[in-house]
């Protein structure tokens, strides 16, 4: 819920950004949110920071399976097939 129904503050933007990304803001709030980003460079940058954060977290999973673990699993799969 926003404090006013004709605008939102920067302090509110930083709490609404996840709901905005998730497409879960009610239509009127989403509109206020986007209007705010149009005139507030600070919040536009903040939203970009949150996007960059999600991307950075996503990089953690880029790990390969160790060859030994792969071999063990393939052996288990061959046994399972029988």
């Amino acid at each position: 819920m926003t404090e006013s129904d004709d605008h939102i503050t920067c302090r509110e933007v930083v709490e609404l950004v996840t709901d905005y990304f998730e497409g879960k803001l009610p239509a009127d709030e989403a509109e206020l949110f986007e209007q705010h980003l149009n005139f507030c460079e600070g919040c536009a940058w903040y939203v970009e920071q949150m996007r960059a954060t999600v991307t950075a977290v996503g990089r953690i999973s880029e790990e390969d399976i160790p060859p030994k673990a792969r071999e063990r699993l393939l052996t288990a799969f061959r046994d399972w097939k029988r």
């Binding site: 930083v14 460079e41 977290v57 799969f77």
Partner: protein, 219 residues
């Protein structure tokens, strides 16, 4: 086989999955290998929420795959293959983590409770002043940073540390959403949290990691 069971899920992804399942059930090694490869990284990341070391996480993931093989013939495709695999993994990891005294029951970690703002209140103009609730000074423009600032080894370590600091409920949600690439629905289903709670947990977790990145990048 498999066709009849998966008939109610008709998206291209579901069709692709039905084909993969058929190949797995026929014992196609290449299919299994690519399944393992595409899930391994995210499974390790999820397992690390429940157990202490990378080695144990690796064991847990191995055990989960054996569980997947045992259940494969009975899998009916009511959820996606990915959700089903992750659920087996979470159960395996939670059991193992419980034995090691790391894991707490998820339901005891509801997000309600103390409010923790995404950004310290001091960064905004106080109530009563002109432009109350607006930035005192703007956060940085990360779009102008060189690519490696956000993808380098050091930055990755900052991100990992920030995630490790989170309460378990937040850590589980951000891991599943942003590392494992699960949808909101998949997280709600696997962890048994409401959609609203899922978003609150995700928001707090991402905000915490962002703040850690900001401290790192501003240095």
């Amino acid at each position: 086989m498999g066709q009849v069971q998966e008939e109610h899920r008709t998206s291209p992804a579901a069709a692709e999955e039905a084909e993969l399942l058929a190949r797995l059930r026929e014992g196609d090694e290449r299919a299994f290998e690519s399944l393992v490869e595409s899930h391994h990284g995210r499974m390790i990341a999820v397992a690390l929420n429940y157990v202490k070391t990378r080695d144990i996480a690796e064991e847990v993931v191995q055990e989960a795959w054996l569980g997947v093989l045992r259940g494969l013939d009975r899998f009916e495709g009511r959820s996606s293959l990915k959700t089903w695999i992750l659920r087996i993994l979470v159960n395996t990891a939670a059991t193992r983590g419980g034995r090691e005294g790391r894991s707490l029951p998820f339901s005891s970690l509801a997000p309600a409770g103390e409010e923790s703002p995404a950004v310290e209140p001091e960064r905004f103009r106080p109530p009563g002043e002109a432009f109350a609730g607006h930035w005192n000074s703007y956060p940085g423009d990360w779009t102008t940073l060189p690519e490696e600032a956000l993808s380098g080894r050091e930055t990755l370590a900052v991100v990992k540390r920030a995630i490790a600091e989170l309460p378990e409920s937040q850590r589980s949600v951000i891991t599943m959403r942003d590392i494992a690439g699960c949808s909101a629905d998949e997280v709600c289903e696997t962890l048994e949290v409401s959609p609203g709670n899922q978003r609150v947990l995700l928001h707090r977790a991402r905000s915490h990691v962002r703040a850690a990145l900001e401290r790192h990048l501003d240095d």
